[in-house]
Point group: C3
Chain length 133, copies 3
Amino acid sequence: MHTLSFETRKRDEFVNLTRQIQDYLEREKLTDGALLVYCPHTTAGLTINEGADPDVRRDILAALTRLVPLQGDYRHAEGNSDAHIKASLMGSSVLVPVANGQLQIGTWQSVYFCEFDGPRSRKVNLQFLPGSH
Amino acid sequence: MHTLSFETRKRDEFVNLTRQIQDYLEREKLTDGALLVYCPHTTAGLTINEGADPDVRRDILAALTRLVPLQGDYRHAEGNSDAHIKASLMGSSVLVPVANGQLQIGTWQSVYFCEFDGPRSRKVNLQFLPGSH
Amino acid sequence: MHTLSFETRKRDEFVNLTRQIQDYLEREKLTDGALLVYCPHTTAGLTINEGADPDVRRDILAALTRLVPLQGDYRHAEGNSDAHIKASLMGSSVLVPVANGQLQIGTWQSVYFCEFDGPRSRKVNLQFLPGSH
């Protein structure tokens, strides 16, 4: 298992991890199977969506905030219930197929860390799972 | 890795891929582990839910459209921000256990491709991950 | 593949499965890779979120019920369309990295079975996928 560490800069933010993940595959010569990208935090998640137009990330974050506002009928006393809920809506991991050492994501896809309670020091864990032969 | 290609026929639609996925396992004699079904598109996703009553699929699609309407406070200029948001809510992949060459889904479960910006030519990638023994 | 069976006690409930999953890894001496925890039901799901303060679970369930009420524009005649929709929002599985025989979840994370149509007899399937090395 390998860990990527990074800093987030806003309360709500999508951080593009695609290049670092692809670099890890190449460095470790991992060729065929799937890569698990796992978020060990409870107020952040992972998703795969468009990498080209930054307005897509903005629209996803805005929709999540409209559906799950910062203030609401919450009991958790830390003031970040919205972040926990958004984390479960996005999910704690993504699993990406790998072939010939390349992430098999679509042309328009990027892998995003979804920060919902930043800015913070964050990390994700990478675990490669070999495919069948 | 194997690719399934198909055409969707509506803007919002659930396409049942269960039989094609099971056929792939049998053709390739893949027996024990898990099958990753991955969507390389950014305006579509994957989910597992009831295969018996088509009203369940209709109700899921209707709820998603109520929560994330076609028109809204969106900046992405292509007019399909709702589809990107729904894709992240459903997720880009499902991972299904396989034992004795059979998908280990529940009696009422089917694997669905979730089209949110059709009709289009679409595909999913299949990657088998062997289990431990 | 291994099956965990249990009873849920409320209509909506998060059941913490973390200890049973960790026990399974130790009993089977599974050390490095990832564990797939799979829900074969269509009105329940799985998520990973905070295990410390029970108010977080309560807030996630309350937010899901606000977004997807019990009564609504539903056609499925069994009266549990909300549960099917919530199941797809949470997802049918979680995949957790494992290193040195330990679940690599974060300090505050627990693995939850999400009951949305209980009380019922439920189960999850566990499938270990070995890592590379």
